[in-house]
């Protein structure tokens, strides 16, 4: 495999950053992920995931405008890099590939 390893949580963060399309930053990501996955997410987890992703070169960050509720501090806005996009693409292909090979697609016993 020639693509970088991506943890499950990192994948979710990366996907959410992509979904928010350039407006992603710490707090909004926390709320978004908490809402989407239903798990309790702490700010420092998001920050460290973002740091790791940035080190891997999958996201880049720019400083945004200062706002009042941040005590006049600026946001760090994250957006996907081309490498990040390609990685997400590859992850998706692998999954779809596997799904498509199911001979007997199973049905969930109980519909939610």
């Amino acid at each position: 495999m020639n693509r970088a390893y991506l943890g499950e949580f990192e994948e979710i963060v990366l996907l959410t950053v992509a979904a928010l399309d350039g407006t992603a930053y710490g707090v909004i990501l926390t709320h978004e992920i908490a809402e989407q996955t239903g798990r309790a997410v702490k700010l420092n987890q998001i920050h460290s995931a973002l740091q790791r992703l940035e080190e891997k070169g999958m996201v880049r960050s720019d400083m945004g405008e200062p706002t009042a509720e941040r005590g006049g501090r600026r946001k760090r806005l994250y957006s996907l890099t081309a490498y990040g996009q390609r990685t997400l693409q590859q992850v998706r292909e692998v999954r779809e590939n596997l799904w498509s090979r199911f001979v007997k697609p199973f049905k969930l016993a109980v519909e939610i």
């Binding site: 930053y25 700010l43 941040r70």
Partner: protein, 887 residues
């Protein structure tokens, strides 16, 4: 909504904590997100819960990931670049060469300080290594004993033993591998026609297997196994035979080994070994060893357990349990000596219980309770080590203070250099390294000088400290490490503070020439005060020791010791005294002759029925007291005309009378109860100091008892006839006693020699004080020079305005003298406490007088004044035009 939220803020200390800990480049985002989340939570769950959540979230950021600082994008300055290091050396050399006075002061001061510390290191190394060279260490022990009173209290300890413990314990305790008894005796040795008295040590044949004294020739295992064999030292072999190849030759020694009494013949001893010179750090130093032979009767007589006169050493099995061995020893003693113990209790009322113990051989040298004595030499006092160390530390400290003061005070001149270095990119670390390096360079020079000084002063030091040290001791890894440590510590101590101060200068102020080190430098002031506190403390100490010494030397002893000669003659009989007196007084220069017992005797007797008094016991004849000019206050002196004096009468001194509580002493009875003899007091003798002044006058009894032997005689001569009288005494002595060695001593010389240790302390303190004052003063000199330079313009202006030379000199001098005076405030109480403690050791001592302190103060002020005034006057005399012209 916004106006409500304004007073609801997240907890401030959590923010503070994060600001402190988190990396600056991450901080803005982290805090921003936290605050935004907080505001959101306030609207969701209320301020209280939001605060709690805030804590949890904030604490989550205390992770290495958020703490790690961002790497600087710029390359770091190269700390150890080759060119810079070369530059440091160049600059250091130029600075040193340019300021010769300061470099000189620093190097001289530091090297004296280092030399003092080095000498002390040598000294302590020697002290610590004492007796360590025996390969059987730590299994060599000395048998000691302590006596316990009936209620179990410790009454006394003793390091000496008799014939019995060694062989008895070795036979009964399996852990004791072997024993050595070691007894010193003075023996007459015949060499051709000459007879000399030498120290001979009687030892058991296991001596060389227990102790590691290498033999040059001879077999160490068998050397001492034959009765009349003898092992001598190299030096002794050279002295008697002129070579060291002397195995099998004979030496004539008077007296048989197992009989300690006189009137014996010279017996031949065969040399069976030649030993190397005993190491100087050894408690056992011998020239002649002979085997110890005890006849059978001595070991059978159980009362011999109580006769104690020598040292016994044992070698234990490695790993033996010492307390167990001690227990076994005491079991053996109590069984073997049962009869003797009972007898002692019956006969003499001696009820103290005796317990044997073991003392590690290596602990003997510095032990205060159980010193090595009775043939074991060079016991040393730990107090001396402390005093020496104290003085060395003082001196080194003062030298370091000089360095710090001068470097900081002089730094004004280097401020520009520091400014330029900083402007072109030098970091603080680099500057610290540079200045520390300079101090190490100087310290290194001082170190080399110090080695030279040590080499030069070692003989004097050896004399003072009673040692034979040599610099060759240096070739020892521990000592080299010690010296290296000393070097590093001094370099750091002296260089660290200046380096810190100098590297902290702001380049802008230094380059604009606005930096002014104020004259009132707190640190410099307090350091100078500290220096002079130490110096005045030592001055007071020296003055006290000197006056106490003079006091002891010139104290009226209560008798006349002038023109008295003392000659030792063992076993001097009454007839011999008569003959001797007859012959000696033929010379009109000889005024009187009187015999006395050898050494110091003590005894005890009962008075008033049951009170027991112990006293100094002097055996004299009627001429003794008149000769030393001690009057008999009450009653009468012994008389040659009343033959009953020797068997019925004694004389006592005033202290004895006081102790006995007698109103009418003459005619009172003194009961020597264990000999069952009663004496009447014939007269009371005026108290005199029969021993040195470290002891109070105790009770004294004079007797003429016929059974007591004389061991010496005193001769009083006419003043100024020393040469002829001595010749006459010697001729008479050798004619009358051809088989006895002749040696004489002047009594007043002898009395002075008793204060040798005081004389030594006096000298050591004097040296220490002179060095301390010297170093303090050169430091003060440097500071005064700098002060004069710094106030150059001020002086110029003052002169132009009409100030006189004296007023300016006074201005400059008084600054420093004030500091010296302040130092007295600290020095006096300390010194008072110290000398008061020291003087407590002496029953006869000088009073601590205010005059002494005044003297010390005056001395310190005068010395400081002389040092400072030279520079002050020079500065005051300068032409103001010169200092004011240049701007």
């Amino acid at each position: 909504m916004k106006s409500d939220d304004r007073n609801i803020t997240p907890p401030a200390w959590a923010d503070k904590l994060l600001c402190r800990i988190c990396a600056p480049h991450l901080l803005e985002t982290i805090l921003g997100d936290l605050h935004e989340e907080f505001n959101f939570q306030v609207s969701q769950v209320g301020p209280r819960k939001a605060r709690l959540l805030y804590y949890r979230e904030a604490l989550g950021f205390l992770k290495l990931r958020y703490i790690k600082r961002q790497k600087s994008p710029y390359s770091a300055t190269f700390t150890f670049s080759h060119d810079m290091i070369r530059n440091y050396f160049t600059i250091a050399w130029r600075t040193l060469a340019h300021n010769k006075v300061y470099s000189f002061i620093n190097v001289i001061g530091l090297s004296i300080g280092l030399a003092a510390a080095m000498l002390i290191l040598l000294y302590t190394k020697d002290e610590v290594s004492f007796d360590q060279f025996h390969t059987n260490n730590p299994n060599i022990y000395r048998i000691t004993s302590r006596s316990l009173s009936i209620d179990g209290k410790k009454v006394g300890v003793m390091g000496n033993t008799g014939y019995m413990p060694g062989p008895k314990f070795a036979a009964g305790v399996p852990e004791i591998r072997s024993f050595v008894r070691y007894e010193e005796q003075q023996k007459d040795i015949k060499n051709g026609t000459e007879i000399k008295s030498e120290k001979v040590y009687r030892v058991d044949s296991s001596f060389f297997s227990v102790f590691s004294f290498p033999l040059l020739s001879g077999n160490p295992e068998t050397a001492l196994s034959q009765t009349n064999s003898i092992v001598i030292s190299e030096a002794m072999a050279q002295k008697y035979f002129g070579s060291t190849d002397v195995l099998g030759k004979t030496i004539l020694i008077k007296g048989n080994a197992d009989k300690a009494y006189e009137d014996e013949r010279f017996e031949p001893y065969t040399v069976t070994g030649v030993a190397q010179k005993s190491p100087q750090n050894s408690s056992i130093k011998f020239d002649i060893l002979v085997p110890m032979v005890t006849n059978h009767g001595e070991m059978e007589e159980s009362s011999n357990w109580f006769s104690v006169f020598m040292n016994t050493f044992v070698l234990l099995e490695p790993g033996a349990n010492v307390s167990l061995v001690e227990k076994k020893m005491n079991l053996i003693y109590n069984a073997d000596a049962k009869e003797a113990i009972r007898e002692m209790a019956q006969k003499y009322g001696f009820k103290d219980q005796n317990q044997y113990a073991l003392q590690p051989f290596t602990a003997m040298h510095l032990s205060a309770d159980l010193p090595g004595d009775n043939g074991l030499v060079d016991h040393s006092d730990q107090k001396l080590s402390y005093i020496l160390t104290g003085i060395a530390i003082f001196i080194l400290l003062i030298a370091c203070i000089n360095f710090i003061n001068l470097t900081v005070a002089r730094s004004l001149k280097r401020a520009k250099e520091i400014g330029v270095r900083k402007v072109v990119g030098g970091g603080r670390i680099q500057l610290i390294i540079q200045f520390l390096g300079e101090s190490f360079l100087l310290c290194f020079a001082a170190f080399i000088f110090a080695l030279v000084i040590v080499q030069l002063t070692l003989p004097t030091f050896n004399d003072l400290a009673n040692k034979q040290l040599a610099l060759s001791y240096l070739f020892d890894i521990k000592l080299i490490m010690g010296y290296l440590g000393l070097f590093l510590a001094t370099g750091l101590l002296a260089g660290f503070y200046p380096a810190l101060v100098l590297s902290g200068y702001n380049p802008v102020t230094t380059l604009y020439n606005r930096l002014a080190l104020s004259g009132k430098n707190q640190l410099q002031t307090s350091l100078v005060v500290l220096q002079f506190t130490i110096a005045s403390f030592l001055i007071i100490g020296t003055l006290t020791i000197r006056s106490q010494f003079d006091y002891l030397i010139h104290y009226d002893l209560g008798y006349n010791d002038k023109h008295m000669i003392r000659v030792e003659k063992s076993n001097l009989t009454r007839e011999e005294v008569k003959l001797l007196r007859q012959e000696l007084v033929k010379d009109p220069n000889i005024l009187s002759v009187a015999p006395k017992n050898p050494g110091r005797w003590f005894n005890s007797a009962k008075v008033n029925g049951e009170t027991e008094i112990s006293f100094a016991y002097e055996t004299i004849d009627p001429e003794f007291l008149p000769m030393i000019e001690v009057p008999v206050l009450l009653g009468r002196n012994f008389s040659a005309d009343s033959p009953g004096d020797s068997s019925r009468y004694v004389l006592v001194n005033e202290t004895f009378v006081k102790k006995a509580g007698w109103k009418n002493p003459v005619g009172q009875v003194v009961d020597f109860w264990f000999n069952n003899i009663k004496y009447s007091v014939a007269g009371v003798v005026k108290d005199y100091h029969y021993t040195d002044l470290n002891e109070k006058i105790g009770p004294q009894i004079f007797t003429m008892k016929a059974g007591n032997t004389y061991g010496r005689f005193f001769v009083k001569i006419k003043p100024g006839t020393e040469t002829t009288s001595l010749r006459h005494i010697k001729e008479t002595y050798t004619r009358l006693f051809p088989l006895n060695p002749y040696a004489y001593k002047f009594l007043d010389d002898d009395n002075q020699q008793r204060y040798e240790s005081e004389a030594k302390w006096k000298q050591i303190m004097l040296f220490g004080t002179i060095l301390t004052i010297f170093i303090s003063c050169i430091g003060l000199f440097g500071l005064a020079t700098l002060a004069a330079q710094r106030r150059n313009k001020e002086i110029g202006i003052r002169k132009v305005m009409g100030a006189s030379v004296t007023s300016i000199a006074r201005l400059l001098t008084s600054d420093f003298l004030k500091l010296v005076c302040i130092s007295f405030v600290f020095a006096f109480p300390l010194a008072y406490y110290a000398i008061d403690k020291w003087l407590q050791n002496y029953p006869y001592r000088v009073d601590i007088s205010a005059l002494l302190f005044l003297e010390a103060a005056l001395l310190a002020v005068i010395v400081a004044f002389l040092t400072v005034s030279f520079q002050s006057i020079r500065a005051a005399l300068m032409n103001p035009a010169d200092s004011l012209r240049s701007e």
